[in-house]
Symmetry: C2
Subunit: 96 residues, 2 copies
């Protein structure tokens, strides 16, 4: 099991992430990523999939041509947890 982040922990975590937006209603973070085309978008998705599978924590995400929307929250915690922050950081690293 993993605990939900407190408001203070969440605010500190968001400062270390790049462009992720907190959704209070869902207690989740999301980010819309834009690419040149579908090939580039799906290439990114493939890299995220490998990171997600390796860490055992998976995103809710959607894709439409060059756009990828990723939403992260932790089902077991009932909201945003350290697992989401770690996956978000790993996704940010892919794009550096």
């Amino acid at each position: 099991m993993v605990d939900k982040l407190t408001a203070k922990q969440r605010e500190a975590a968001l400062k270390r992430l790049n462009g992720w937006v907190y959704d209070e209603a869902k207690d989740a973070i999301h980010h819309v990523f834009k690419f040149k085309d579908f090939s580039e978008a799906f290439g990114f998705m493939s890299r995220v999939a490998l990171v997600a599978e390796k860490s055992g924590h998976h995103p809710d995400w959607s894709n439409s041509y060059n756009s990828v929307t990723i939403t992260l929250s932790t089902h077991d915690a009932g909201g945003l947890s350290v697992r989401d922050v770690e996956l978000a950081k790993a996704i940010d690293t892919i794009l550096v």
Copy 2:
């Protein structure tokens, strides 16, 4: 350019597809696919991505762990076209 299907063409096409549902409000078809786990779901998505890129027609789709929801419509046609039916058929073929 490609034309929207007529109601008659659409009904005939849906009969040849496997489990796709027509959404009148969106003039689109969608299908929710369930898999064993994320690995199997993303493996399927990778195969769909290759088919989509090859045909130059891409889905709107989302994934959450073992579930993949695919929605097909043709932006240029303003609704469902033969391109969507062909992509749906190709996706069905992956799962045979």
